[in-house]
C-alpha cells in the first residue's frame, strides 16, 4: 500500500494504482477524455494533467503511477492552467456546432469546456474538416468532431476482440476509420457510441429524434439473452427512444450487446397490434376485449370438453416474464392440462435434472475461473457479453477451450478446440473425457462407455488446461441445448465436470430460460409432434421460434383454434383465429431470472400502446372468466411472489435426476448444422430494421468446407438447393473451412429457411 495525498486528502492505495485511480477512490474528479476504466491507458488527450509535488511540469493523472508519499494537486493554479491549455488546443479544431450535434447535452467536451474553456477562441485559421465514414447501420459519424481520444479504437481491439477501427494518418491528418469500405461488424459495436466523449460517433437509429434532456430515464432488463443486461430505457412522449446500459459490474459491466441496445426499434414498429382481433369467416374483425376474452375462454372450454385437456397446448418463448409464464401454466393447470412448453428449439426433451438448469455459479465466477470449456455454442452470437467477459478473462490467464461443430473465432486465444460434426458433439466431449481419464489414470465414470473413443491432440490439450486447476467451469451453449442428443451430451459434460472438479453450467438461451423452469412452464416436450386441437401462443411465432418449424407450422395450421397473444401482426395474422394484443417487455412490469439465477424485476417504461394489455393481466382475466381458483392478483408483484416463492437458490440444480448412459456412435452422410442467426433469435430483434441491416442480419448462406463443397458439386458464390424432409430452401454458397467434413451449415428460423426441419439432421444438398 502506498500513501498519497490528493488535494490535501490523505489516503492509501494499492501499489500499481495511478493517480487517476486514487482520485476516483476518494471521489475527486479529474477531467479526462481518453481515460476509461475498462480500456488500456492511452494518455493521449492530456486533459487530466495535474500538479505533482516536486515534478517540474504537470503530469497526466491517468498514466502516472502513485509513488509513496506523493502529493497531488488537481485544482492548483498549475493544474488548472495546464487543463485550460489542453482544452484550448482541443477546441482549435473541434467544431462549435453543439446546437446541431446529437451529443449536445451529454457531451463530455461540452461539459468540460464550460469549466475549462475560454469564452472565445484565439484561433482564427480554418478548422480541419474530416470526411464522415460509413461504419454500418448502427453508428453514425461526424468525424470532424473527433478529438482522437482513441477510446473507440481501443474498444474494438481490447473489448470486442478485433481491431475494426483504427487511426490511420499522422498528426493533423489522423482520422478514425475502419479499413477502407468496411463497416464495424462486432455484435457489441454500439458501445463505441457511449464511449465516444464527443459527438463523433452517435447512434444512427436515434439520430436527430430527441434531445437528451427531453428524455426520461427508466430502468429495465434486457429481454434477449440469458445474461439479463441492465438497461436504462429513455422515453419521450410514451415512446421508447433509446436504450443505454445501466452499469452493473456483476452482469453487463458498462456494456450492452447491439441487440440489447437497438432492438427497441421493434417496439415502435408498424406491425404492433393495438386491438383484439377475431377471425370470422376468414376475415379479421376488430373486437372489444370483453368479447375477445370470452371467445377465447369459451373456445378453450369447448375444446377441452369435447376432446379432453390433452388436446390443448400453451406455447411461449423463454423471453416471456416469470409472471406471464406462471399464469399461462396456471391457466392450463386449471383446465386440467400440463401441455405448456417454452423450450421450443430443443430437439431432445429427455434430460431430467434435480432442479432448474443454470450457470451453476455467478457470471463473475465463470469469467474469473482458471479454465472454462464451452460445449456447443456460437458464443459471440448467443451470449455476446459473456463472450466478451471470457475474452477479458483469457487476458488474465483463463484457459478457454471449446467443443463445437464449427471453428468460429471467439477473437481470443483458445487452449484447445475440438471440432466435430453436429451429430457427434457427444463423441467430441467423450474424447475429452477419455483424455482426462488417461491422464489421471482413473476408470471411466459409471454410465460413460468409452469403448472406441480416441483422445486426439485437441482433446488432450483441453484436458491439460483443466489439470491442477482449482476453479474451473464447463458450460453448455445453445447449439448443445438444441442438439438431438442433448441428454447424452449433458451427461457426458456432467461426467467430465465430475472428473475435473469443474462446475457444470447451462448458458440460458433467453432472458428467462431459468425463470421458465422455475415456474414449471416447461416439461411438456414437443407439443407439435402430435398436433393439438387448440394452441395458445404467447408471443411465439412458430416458424421462427420453434426448432422444427415445419412441423410446428403444420400443427398450428391444422388446429381448430389458435389463440395468439401477440405484440405484433404478421405471423399471428397468418395462423391465428383470435389475437389478443399484449405488451412487450417495455410496457409491462415483470421479472426475468437470468442464467446465474438472479431474479430481476422491472416496471413498464411506457404505457401499453393502444388497447394492448400486459399478458399477465390477460391470463388473470381468462382465469377469472373460466372460473379458476387463485387468479385474483392485483399486481404483477403478487404474481411474482407466488411464482417464485421460497428459496430460489435451492431450486437451481444441474444434477442429473437419473443416470443417463452415454456411448459413442458413428455418424455419416451429409448433416445439417442449423443455428438461429443472432438477429432472428426473438420477435423484437426480428423487427429491428437497423439490426437486420447489419452484416449479422444478412440473408443466411449455406456454408461447408472446401472438400464438402467439392463433393456436393457446389461452388462458392453459387446457389444450393437444400432439401430436408418435405421442405426445401435455396441459399447462396459460402466457404467455411472451420467445419468438419460433410457438414453443411444452414441457419434456421429465418424466412429463407423456415420451410426446413430440425436444426441437426440429414439433408440433401444439390446445386440449384
Amino acid at each position: 500500500m502506498l500513501e498519497i495525498e490528493i488535494d490535501g486528502k490523505k489516503l492509501t492505495v494499492p501499489g500499481g494504482s495511478t493517480v487517476m485511480d486514487a482520485a476516483n477512490s476518494v471521489g475527486v474528479h479529474i477531467p479526462h477524455f481518453c481515460y476509461h476504466k475498462k480500456l488500456s491507458i492511452a494518455a493521449n488527450c492530456r486533459m487530466c494533467l495535474v500538479q505533482v509535488e516536486k515534478a517540474p511540469k504537470p503530469l497526466p493523472a491517468c498514466a502516472t503511477p502513485v509513488t509513496d508519499g506523493m502529493k497531488v494537486y488537481t485544482h492548483s493554479d498549475m493544474a488548472v492552467k495546464a487543463q485550460k491549455g489542453v482544452m484550448e488546443f482541443l477546441l482549435i479544431n473541434h467544431p462549435l456546432d453543439c446546437p446541431i450535434c446529437d451529443q449536445g447535452g451529454e457531451c463530455q467536451l461540452q461539459d468540460l469546456a464550460v469549466g475549462y474553456g475560454q469564452s472565445s477562441s484565439r484561433y482564427e485559421e480554418e478548422k480541419r474538416v474530416v470526411p464522415n465514414k460509413n461504419l454500418g447501420p448502427l453508428i453514425s459519424t461526424d468525424m470532424t468532431r473527433c478529438i482522437h481520444c482513441s477510446r473507440c479504437v481501443r474498444f474494438t481491439e481490447e473489448i470486442a476482440g478485433y481491431q475494426e477501427l483504427g487511426m490511420p494518418g499522422r498528426g493533423e491528418h489522423t482520422e478514425v476509420m475502419s479499413f477502407i469500405g468496411k463497416t464495424v461488424n462486432s455484435e457489441i459495436s454500439g458501445n463505441v457510441i457511449d464511449l465516444c466523449p464527443v459527438g463523433a460517433l452517435t447512434s444512427k437509429p436515434f439520430r436527430y429524434s430527441a434531445r437528451t434532456w427531453e428524455l426520461s430515464r427508466r430502468k429495465s432488463v434486457s429481454p434477449h439473452d440469458g445474461l439479463g443486461a441492465n438497461l436504462v430505457v429513455q422515453v419521450k412522449d410514451h415512446r421508447v427512444k433509446r436504450v443505454l446500459p445501466l452499469e452493473n459490474e456483476a452482469i453487463n459491466e458498462c456494456w450492452l450487446a447491439d441487440r440489447d441496445r437497438f432492438s427497441y426499434e421493434a417496439l415502435n414498429s408498424e406491425e404492433r397490434l393495438t386491438k383484439p382481433l377475431i377471425k370470422q369467416g376468414g376475415v379479421w374483425q376488430e373486437a372489444d376485449w370483453q368479447s375477445a376474452l370470452e371467445y377465447v375462454a369459451n373456445g378453450l372450454k369447448d375444446i377441452v370438453d369435447a376432446h379432453g385437456a390433452g388436446s390443448i397446448a400453451g406455447v411461449a418463448t423463454e423471453h416471456a416474464t416469470v409472471e406471464e409464464l406462471y399464469l399461462l401454466k396456471q391457466l392450463f393447470a386449471g383446465l386440467g392440462s400440463h401441455n405448456v412448453e417454452t423450450r421450443l428449439r430443443a430437439a431432445d426433451h429427455g434430460l431430467k435434472t434435480a432442479g432448474a438448469t443454470w450457470l451453476g455459479q455467478s457470471i463473475v465466477d465463470v469469467a474469473t475461473a482458471e479454465a472454462v470449456l464451452v460445449i456447443g455454442s456460437t458464443l459471440r452470437k448467443e451470449q455476446p457479453l459473456l463472450a466478451q467477459r471470457l475474452r477479458q478473462g483469457v487476458k488474465k490467464g483463463l484457459k478457454l477451450s471449446v467443443v463445437n461443430p464449427h471453428a468460429d473465432d471467439l477473437l481470443t486465444a483458445l487452449a484447445g478446440q475440438v471440432v466435430v460434426r453436429p451429430d457427434q458433439l457427444v463423441e467430441g466431449v467423450l474424447a475429452v473425457v477419455k483424455a482426462v481419464v488417461d491422464a489421471k489414470g482413473v476408470a471411466a465414470p459409471a454410465q460413460i462407455d468409452l469403448s472406441g473413443v480416441e483422445a486426439d491432440d485437441a482433446a488432450r490439450a483441453i484436458a491439460a488446461s483443466f489439470a491442477d486447476k482449482e476453479k474451473t467451469a464447463i458450460v453448455l451453449g445453445n447449439v448443445a441445448q438444441q442438439n438431438p442428443r442433448y441428454a447424452e451430451l449433458y451427461a457426458a459434460a456432467a461426467a467430465l465436470a465430475e472428473l475435473t472438479g469443474a462446475k457444470l453450467g447451462v448458458l440460458g438461451a433467453a432472458a428467462n430460460s431459468v425463470g421458465a423452469q422455475l415456474v414449471g412452464a416447461t416439461g411438456a416436450g414437443n407439443v407439435f409432434a402430435e398436433p393439438k386441437k387448440a394452441y395458445v401462443l404467447l408471443n411465439t411465432e412458430v416458424e421462427f421460434d420453434v426448432g422444427d418449424s415445419l412441423q410446428a407450422l403444420r400443427a398450428v395450421q391444422g388446429a381448430a383454434m389458435v389463440v395468439a397473444l401477440s405484440s405484433f401482426g404478421s405471423c399471428a395474422l397468418e395462423h391465428a383465429d383470435v389475437i389478443l394484443p399484449v405488451s412487450p417487455f417495455s410496457e409491462t412490469s415483470g421479472t426475468f431470472v437470468n442464467m446465474e439465477g438472479k431474479a430481476q424485476s422491472f416496471n413498464g417504461v411506457v404505457r401499453p400502446l393502444g388497447e394492448t394489455r400486459p399478458a399477465w393481466k390477460v391470463f388473470r382475466v381468462l382465469g377469472n372468466l373460466l372460473g379458476l381458483e387463485n387468479f385474483n392478483f392485483n399486481s404483477s408483484e403478487e404474481v411474482r411472489d407466488i411464482a417464485l416463492a421460497g428459496d430460489l437458490a435451492a431450486k437451481l440444480s444441474n444434477a442429473l435426476a437419473a443416470p443417463v448412459a452415454v456411448k459413442a456412435q458413428a455418424a455419416s452422410g451429409v448433416v445439417r448444422l442449423g443455428e438461429v442467426p443472432i438477429y432472428q433469435a426473438d420477435l423484437l430483434t426480428r423487427r429491428a430494421p437497423s439490426l437486420q441491416a447489419t452484416v449479422d442480419g444478412a440473408a443466411p448462406q449455406l456454408k461447408a468446407n472446401a472438400a464438402t463443397l467439392a463433393r456436393l458439386g457446389l461452388s462458392i458464390g453459387g446457389q444450393a438447393l437444400v432439401k430436408q424432409g418435405q421442405g426445401d430452401a435455396q441459399l447462396a454458397v459460402e466457404l467455411d473451412n472451420g467445419l468438419a467434413d460433410d457438414v453443411v451449415r444452414v441457419p434456421a428460423n429465418h424466412p429463407l429457411t423456415r420451410a426446413l426441419g430440425a436444426f441437426v439432421g440429414p439433408v440433401d444438398v444439390t446445386q440449384a
Partner: protein, 157 residues
C-alpha cells in the same frame, strides 16, 4: 499477390518476433511488399495484413503513418530530394529545381513515361554530404550537383 521470394522474406521477418507479436513485423512486411509492387494499394495492404494475421486497419495505420510508404502509383524510380534547411543551404533546393526542370515535373509528380517520380524529402541525416537524394527509398546519393544528377538519371532505366 506477392511472389514466393517476397513471402519468404516476410516469413524471415516474422521469425524475429515472438509468435504472439506478429504485428511487430508489419513495417518490414509492408516494405517488402512495396519493393515488389513499387506502391501499396489497399488490396496489397489488406493482403499483407491477412498474411501476418493482423486486422487490415492496423496495417493501414502503419502504411499511412510513414511517408516512405507510397499509397499511390509511382514511377519506376522514385527520386526523393532532401529540401530541409541544412541541405537547402548547400544546394539541395537547387538540386530539386534542376530535377524539376530536367524531368519536366513538379514534386509529387511522375513523368509521362512512368520512369521517374520526384518527391521532396526530410532530413536524411546526411547533411554534411548535401545535396542528398534518395533513389527508390533504398539507395542514397550525395553531392548531387547537376552533373551528378545527369549521370545518375542516365543510369536509371
Amino acid at each position: 499477390m506477392l511472389t514466393p521470394e517476397s513471402l519468404a522474406q516476410i516469413d524471415r521477418e516474422l521469425t524475429k518476433y515472438p509468435a504472439d507479436q506478429r504485428r511487430s513485423a508489419t513495417m518490414s512486411a509492408l516494405r517488402i511488399a512495396q519493393v515488389e509492387h513499387r506502391w501499396l494499394s489497399n488490396e496489397l495492404i489488406e493482403f499483407v495484413a491477412n498474411y501476418i494475421g493482423i486486422p487490415p486497419v492496423a496495417a493501414y495505420e502503419v502504411a499511412t503513418f510513414y511517408n516512405m510508404f507510397d499509397r499511390k502509383p509511382v514511377g519506376r524510380h522514385k527520386l526523393t530530394v532532401c529540401t530541409n534547411l541544412p541541405c537547402a543551404l548547400s544546394g539541395g533546393a537547387d538540386a530539386g529545381k534542376y530535377l524539376q526542370q530536367k524531368l519536366g515535373i513538379g514534386y509529387g509528380e511522375t513523368t509521362a513515361d512512368g520512369r521517374f517520380t520526384l518527391m521532396e524529402g526530410e532530413c536524411m541525416g546526411a547533411c554534411g554530404y548535401a545535396p542528398v537524394m534518395l533513389v527508390n527509398n533504398h539507395s542514397m546519393c550525395n553531392h548531387m550537383t547537376p552533373e551528378a544528377i545527369d549521370k545518375k538519371l542516365a543510369e536509371l532505366e
